[in-house]
Symmetry: C2
Subunit: 264 residues, 2 copies
């Protein structure tokens, strides 16, 4: 039986201030909850039907005090989503990832990371996390104006990639200025170089900066960009859209940087 207090707590996590207080977030749906448990995310409370619980390998089952068998109706009452995922079965309150303090250089290392300069749409953020996961990018550095990674819309649209990609909120201009000069910082601009032909010495490393949906990359962040790129429309003199959706542009640039490694 779910208490009113539990229902109230789970619903409260739809709001950022309660997520910030409790350092928890909610994930809904069998596949998502399974993927996050399988990735080792720590469950505070797992609310699920008996058949979902029976389907979980013992190694993924949280401590028994955190497991709450529920009926389908109870899960429906617990859901905070306008359209709960089909098949229902599980809602889980997870602990947010603990914050770790590392220098910018350590955080980037010799790998490729993404920086988001005010991406505000939760669906775009979720899609970018999924793209990062596909292309083996494990860290996303987000400005404080970027959507909250633990908001229900973001969590649901990552399709589990959230478990494998870390999103770290930071002051982006100072973060970038603290990187060694040798770290390539890529960004897209209308006057940038064709991303397919621009010289890129180390496509395997650096920071790919993506800007806000309406305004692109802010002036302060643009100062730190070392490689100004552009995704050419087709034909070159296209009089069509002024821009691509930011998640689509991120996908194209990640794909291109990964293609370059293989083409070397």
């Amino acid at each position: 039986m779910l208490t009113r207090r539990t229902i109230k707590f789970v619903h409260s996590l739809a709001q950022k201030k309660y997520r910030d207080d409790s350092l928890c977030f909610v994930a809904e749906g069998r596949k998502l909850v399974y993927d996050l448990l399988a990735a080792g995310m720590k469950a505070e409370g797992l609310y699920a039907t008996d058949d979902f619980l029976a389907s979980l390998p013992a190694s993924l089952l949280p401590a028994s005090t955190a497991v709450h068998p529920c009926t389908v109706a109870e899960l429906a009452a617990l859901s905070a989503l306008a359209s709960p995922p089909k098949g229902g079965g599980a809602i889980c309150v997870f602990h947010q990832r603990p914050l770790v303090s590392v220098t910018a250089t350590e955080a980037i290392g010799n790998t490729l990371s993404i920086a988001l300069d005010g991406v505000q749409d939760p669906g775009n953020l979720g899609t970018i996390i999924r793209t990062a996961d596909w292309f083996g990018i494990h860290r996303i550095f987000a400005s404080h104006e970027t959507a909250d990674v633990y908001s229900p819309k973001v969590v649901q649209s990552t399709m589990g990639a959230l478990a494998r990609v870390e999103v770290i909120y930071t002051d982006l201009p100072s973060f970038i200025s603290s990187l060694p000069e040798s770290t390539p910082v890529y960004g897209t601009f209308l006057d940038g170089d064709n991303c397919y032909t621009a010289p890129i010495e180390r496509p395997e490393a650096g920071l790919l900066v993506m800007g806000n949906e309406g305004n692109g990359i802010s002036a302060q962040v643009a100062d730190g960009v070392t490689h100004r790129l552009y995704i050419p429309p087709f034909p070159d003199s296209s009089c069509g859209s002024e821009s691509l959706n930011v998640a689509s542009a991120t996908a194209i640039l990640c794909a291109e940087l990964r293609r370059r490694i293989r083409a070397k």
Copy 2:
């Protein structure tokens, strides 16, 4: 002054059955309404603030009987969106594009088109239309299971690209089977060939098929695919996401086909 009947009509267009009856759809926001008027879309009724109307070149102003100056409060009452676009200013009822009857061969010609096999999320459809526009793709053939291009969410997320990209609903398996054998039909499959190295003789032509968010390309449509492709994850043996978001995958493949033309 807006009549209750007008408000009721505009609101009714959020539902497909009323759009199908009236063959109209609604677009909201200064930029979107401007872009659609500029593209020659025919307005049935333009509801806008005086400053928006004054900013329109005379050539874009609809017939005076279709122009209805409104206050900001009237526009707010007319809006059917949960979050109306910032800056408001204009809501316009447009006529849907007239349906034209052409053969599959005529419809495709020697250009690249996209086919959508059950893409159900309106945001994904809108983003794909915007991507198509960026890459000079003017026609999208959509199965009847695909989201409705005139639904408010799709219209808003196309950012005006709707004016330049035609979406044609059709029975996709028969459409594909009526294409000449020489027309390349591209599709993505987990066992497809690396899209960066697979031989593609005529990247400028053919049909790029994208599948449903959960199930991919249906068996019937897959039968017609001549080039089975795959977007390689990184590293190759990635144990991350099982798939990319369909709009992200579309962006990567359109970009790659366009890159191939330039690389020839």
